[in-house]
Structures are given as C-alpha cells and as structure tokens.
C-alpha cells in the first residue's frame, strides 16, 4: 500500500501510544518500527505484557491509543477492554484501542471489536500502515483490515435471512458496499474515489458499521458463529 505517503505525517501530528503484547520481541519490534517519534509522530509512553500490567499502565499514562494484542495472559485483550471501559467512554481524552494480533480467527476479531476496540489489524501490517491506523484511531475513526471487513460482511450476511426488527442489526446497502471494497483491499481514499463520495463519508460509514457490530444483538452473532463452527 504505497500511496499512503501523507499518512506518515510529520512531527506536527503527535500521538501517545501504549503497547500491550506478551511478546517482548514483538513490542521491541513495533517500538523500533513506529516509535521513532521524530519521523512518525508516534510516542510510545508505556508497555505491558499482561492484563493487570496493561490496566495499570493505561490508567497511569492515559495514552490516546493502545495497541492491544488479543491473546494475553490474564484474560486476553477482551479483559483489558472490559476493565478499561470507563477510560474509553471518558468525555475528555478518551483512550482508544486498536487490536493488533497475529490471529485472524473470526471469534477473536469479533470479540475485541465488540469489546470496544476501534479497529483490528493483523501483525503482518507494515510500519507505515500501522502508523496510519494509529492516527486514524486517534481521530476517532475505525480501522478495518480486509479480513475484518470480510468477517463483518459474513456476520451480517447470514443474519439477513430472518427479518430483524432492529435497524441496528442491519447494514445499509452503502455500508455493505464500503465494507466489500475494504475486503477487496481498497484503501479508504480509493473507496471514496470509486463510490464518488468523500473520504470522511467512507470513514463515517465504517464507524457506523463498528457501532452496529457492538450493538447488534448477541443472539444473532452467537448463532452465526456456531453455524460456521467458529466457537
């Protein structure tokens, strides 16, 4: 994804980040890749290796973005999200979570998104894209990887058959279109161009999807997951 050059930003954009991952090597790698504050504008203010540590560090440092691993000792990323829920909904400087995991199993992905993470990227992501994603999350947008978009489409596709009375459970045609393009590997900018809408509109569609995913009723999702033998 070569054209995200402007996403690298300059030092005028700053974001404070906490890394949560039980692999020290991985934290070091991410730190080296995105933590060069002068170039990327990302400042790593804390690291944690398990759930308890993570909650302590996040509460103490109040970062803008947390890069959160899904599989953690002590209950996993979902547990961190649960215990940090008040920080996420804080009126002032809310802490936002971006899940960063090696797993692309649907249950993990859907789990942390429902836990309140603002996005999900896999560990194969490049440094540039990760920095871009961090900034996007900081600004309050959702970051979907193609795979995540695929899962969401899948989830909503199979709940389509029975009439669902809550509107929240359904994706609009436009949102579906946007997700489909994300799943096909388009960047937000390219989607905007393709659908003749602004990037902001794309972002708001994606945020709407995220909101629906968190609120969509548990029953449907469980049924979906069991039908595909994912849980």
């Amino acid at each position: 994804m070569t054209e995200n050059t402007e996403a690298t930003g300059g030092p005028e954009r700053r974001v404070r980040v906490v890394l949560v991952d039980d692999h020290r090597m991985f934290r070091t790698g991410v730190q080296a890749e995105i933590g060069r504050t002068e170039e990327t504008g990302v400042e790593v203010v804390g690291e944690a290796a398990d759930v308890d540590q993570a909650v302590t560090v996040i509460t103490a440092t109040r970062p803008e973005v947390v890069l959160l691993d899904v599989h953690l000792p002590g209950g996993g990323g979902v547990e961190v999200l649960r215990r940090c829920a008040p920080l996420m909904s804080a009126a002032e400087d809310p802490v936002r979570f971006l899940a960063l995991s090696v797993s692309d199993a649907a249950e993990d992905v859907i789990g942390v998104i429902r836990g309140g993470a603002r996005g999900y990227v896999t560990k194969t992501i490049t440094g540039t894209d990760l920095v871009d994603s961090v900034f996007r999350v900081q600004e309050g947008d959702a970051v979907f990887s193609p795979r995540l978009a695929g899962f969401v489409l899948d989830a909503f596709a199979s709940t389509d058959a029975p009439p669902v009375d809550e509107d929240l459970d359904r994706l609009t045609q436009r949102e579906r279109e946007v997700l489909r393009l994300i799943a096909r590997g388009y960047a937000y900018k390219e989607i905007a161009k393709q659908l003749f809408i602004s990037v902001k509109t794309v972002e708001s569609h994606v945020s709407a999807v995220l909101r629906k995913l968190q609120l969509s009723n548990r029953h449907e999702l469980t049924r979906w997951a069991t039908a595909r033998r994912l849980v």
């Binding site: 994804m1 070569t2 797993s103 692309d104 199993a105 194969t124 490049t126 193609p146 795979r147 978009a149 695929g150 489409l153 899948d154 596709a157 199979s158 489909r180 799943a183 096909r184 590997g185 388009y186 033998r229 994912l230």
Partner: protein, 428 residues
C-alpha cells in the same frame, strides 16, 4: 451449623461468577471418613476440630449430623488429589504447616470422640424389644455402606496417582468387607423378620436385595457421573497437547531447519516462512484441523479459493491475502471460475507482486459468486498486450464467457490491476 451450610451453599451457587478458587471440595488429605469436615474447614477457613465438633454435636440431635455428613459426602466431589485444588483451599489459613503434623493427633482425638458419640447414641436409643432388633442390622448396613462409599473415593483417587499392587489388594479387601457387612446386616434383618408371614418375607427380601444393590452400586454411579466430564476434559487436553507437539515437530521445526540452511536466500526463506505460517494458521484456527490431507479435491468454493491462493503464493513467493465471504459447493461453472481466478492470481503475483500483497476476495451472494483479484503493481493496458499472449484473453475472459459468466479487467497504469469475475451458480 445451618449458618455454615448456608454459607457453603451460597458460595457454591456463587461460583460461576468468580474464579473457582473457593470451590468446595472434600479433602483427600488427612481425612477420617469422607473428608467432609476437613474440606468444609478449609473452605470456611475454620479449624477442622470445630467443624468436627459441630458435626458431632448435631449427631446427638437425632443423628442429624450423620445425615448431613452423608449428604455432603455424596454431593461434594473429592478434591483433586493433593495437586492443586486442595492446596489452594488450605492456603487460606496457616493450615499448610499444621497439616503436616496434626493429622495423627487429630485423628486419634476424633476417633475417640466418635466412639464416645456412638456409645452415647446406642445408650440413647430406646432399647425396647421391637426397635432393638433392627438397630444392629441397621448399624451393620450403615458401616458396610460407609466402607464401600469410601472405597469409591479411593478408587477415584487411585486414578490420579498410580497405586501399587498391594494397595490395590487392600482396596479389594475393603470393598469385600463392605459388601459382607451390608450382606450380613441384610441377612440379620431378614432373620429378625423371619417370624412374620411368608408374603411379608418375600417382599422384605426383594426390597432388601434392591436396597443392597442400590447401596453398593450407588457410590460408584454417583462418582462416575461426577468423574465423567472431568476425565473427558483431561483426555481431550492430553490428546490435544500430543497433537500440537507432533504437529510442531514435523512441520515447524522442519521448516525452521530449512530456513537456517537457506539463510542467505532471502526469497526462499520468505517462501518457506509464508508456507509454514499459512499451514500453521490453518491448523490452529480451522475447526477440523484441515490442511492435513491436501490430496483430495476441494469441495467448496472457500476451500478452492484458499487452495489456489496458497499454491500461487508458494510458487511465486508473493503473499496473497484471501478474504472469503459465504461459501457454497463447487459445481462445474464455479470450477471454471476458479481456474480463471487462479490464472488472475498468477498474473497478479507475476507482474504486480512487488507492489505488496495481492488481495483476493470471493463472495457468495445468493446465486452469484463474485471473485476479485487485485494487485498494486504497475498495471497495464489490455489493448497493448500483444495478440499472441493468451493469458488474460483466453484463460480469464474467454473461459468465463464460455461458461456463462463475465470478467472485467480494470487496470490503471501505476495504480494496480483488478480482475473481477462473476458467475451464476448452476441451479440444483
């Protein structure tokens, strides 16, 4: 005591909410009969002697203590053989040290107390001519049952720690003793009843036999149901671990060795690592452990797309990100589409691979199957492709049209290429 049982009960029901560290177990260590008192003591954080006293005290109130004890014995499972759970139960107080030296003295004391209680009980009971005749058989049956019930616990414990031959013999002897006691009790019962009418005799005999069987088989049945889920879990876990070990051994270690040997050849290392990653991922996250028998033909669309992508990835050393939404069985038309898609993937990997991962997206929506293959390479102009190059024209566009589908090619010089394939599924 009612307060204590209430607390025990409430902590039992509250269990699912919190981590199971406070779960009530009967203690397998330093117990006298069923380990109920010790288990309760550990659970409530009280000295064992207190709990035993309470039970003893209740024993005098019409044998309520015995009844309570029996109920606990039946319902509460034995703590996991001194490995984890009982330890955590006892950690609450400074019990850990006391447990090492106390049991002896405590056991003697409790035995004395119990004998005292038993004597008091016998003395207490109305020694009338009618009731008296039934007391001894009842006591005999009771003692036999206790022996057999405890035996069931021991049999259970033996499964945790391998018990030697002589211990096993002892167990057998105890089991027989229990059976004999119960049998004797029943026999005495029958003899005592002997004066009654013949019909009553037969009835009593039948009931007695049934009761005997129930008393003897009961503990094993109860324990068996309690054990079943636990044991199954253990077995599954062990099996899983063995399988993981075997898998890691033959695939991951093997690949790592190959990577070490080819350390200088970056392309080869990447290819190996990618192939291994995909295989491991497939194995870890797919429910049926697919990816083992790769020989058979894929039967569903999702499988076919993933397989094709994997093959292209291996061959050309370019990562392909595959997203599949929905799934359906493969038919002839879809197979053709898969071949076209595969060709598109090969093209993308060959000519557009340096722009990063190739994105493959497949979706089943109603009757239509849509596949898109997208790369971020330099792109090309279809009209400028020489007429003798048949790849795109024949293998992709032509094949799709022949089978009743459609193919669209979108290529922006410098902006990558996307191939979109659309096909209607054959009607069933």
């Amino acid at each position: 005591m009612p307060a204590a049982t209430a607390r025990a009960a409430s902590s039992l029901t509250a269990d699912p909410e919190e981590p199971p560290q406070r779960k009530l177990y009967r203690s397998a260590d330093g117990r006298m009969l069923g380990g109920v008192a010790r288990g309760l003591a550990g659970h409530l954080g009280l000295p064992v002697a207190w709990v035993r006293f309470v039970f003893l005290g209740l024993f005098f109130t019409d044998g309520l203590g015995a009844l309570l004890y029996a109920v606990f014995w039946i319902v509460v499972p034995l703590g996991v053989g001194g490995v984890e759970a009982p330890r955590s139960v006892f950690e609450t107080a400074a019990d850990g040290r006391r447990k090492l030296r106390k049991p002896d003295r405590g056991q003697v004391f409790a035995l004395v107390a119990l004998t005292f209680g038993a004597v008091a009980f016998v003395a207490n009971v109305d020694m009338g001519s009618e009731a008296d005749r039934y007391i001894w058989p009842t006591l005999l049956i009771g003692a036999g049952s206790v022996l057999v019930w405890r035996q069931a616990d021991n049999a259970r414990r033996a499964r945790w720690m391998e018990v030697g031959r002589n211990r096993k013999l002892l167990h057998l002897a105890r089991g027989f003793a229990g059976v004999a006691l119960v049998g004797l009790g029943l026999a005495v019962f029958l003899v005592v009843r002997g004066s009654a009418a013949q019909l009553g005799n037969v009835l009593t005999a039948a009931i007695a036999v049934l009761t005997g069987i129930f008393l003897l088989a009961g503990p094993y049945l109860v324990r068996m149901t309690q054990d079943l889920s636990e044991e199954r879990l253990m077995r599954i876990r062990a099996q899983e671990r063995a399988e993981v070990a075997a898998h890691v051994h033959d695939s991951v270690l093997h690949t790592l060795t190959l990577i070490q040997r080819n350390a200088d050849d970056g392309g080869e290392v990447r290819r190996l690592a990618r192939a291994q990653e995909r295989e491991l991922r497939n194995w870890l996250y797919n429910p049926e452990g697919t990816g083992k028998d790769e020989d058979d033909e894929p039967e569903t669309l999702a499988e076919a797309v993933k397989r094709a992508a994997a093959e292209v990835e291996d061959k050309h050393g370019v990562p392909l990100e595959v997203v599949v939404v929905g799934d359906c069985p493969l038919d002839e038309k879809l197979s053709a589409q898969m071949q076209a898609a595969r060709e598109a993937m090969v093209n993308a990997a060959k000519y557009g691979g340096e722009g990063g991962a190739v994105q493959v997206f497949a979706e089943v929506e109603g009757r239509t199957v849509f596949v898109s293959v997208r790369d971020r390479g330099p792109g090309f102009d279809l009209d400028e492709v020489p007429g003798d190059r048949m790849g795109v024209r024949e293998s992709i566009i032509g094949r799709m049209q022949r089978n009743g589908g459609s193919a669209r090619l979108r290529s922006v010089p410098g902006g990558g290429t996307e191939v979109e394939l659309e096909m209607e599924r054959a009607s069933e």
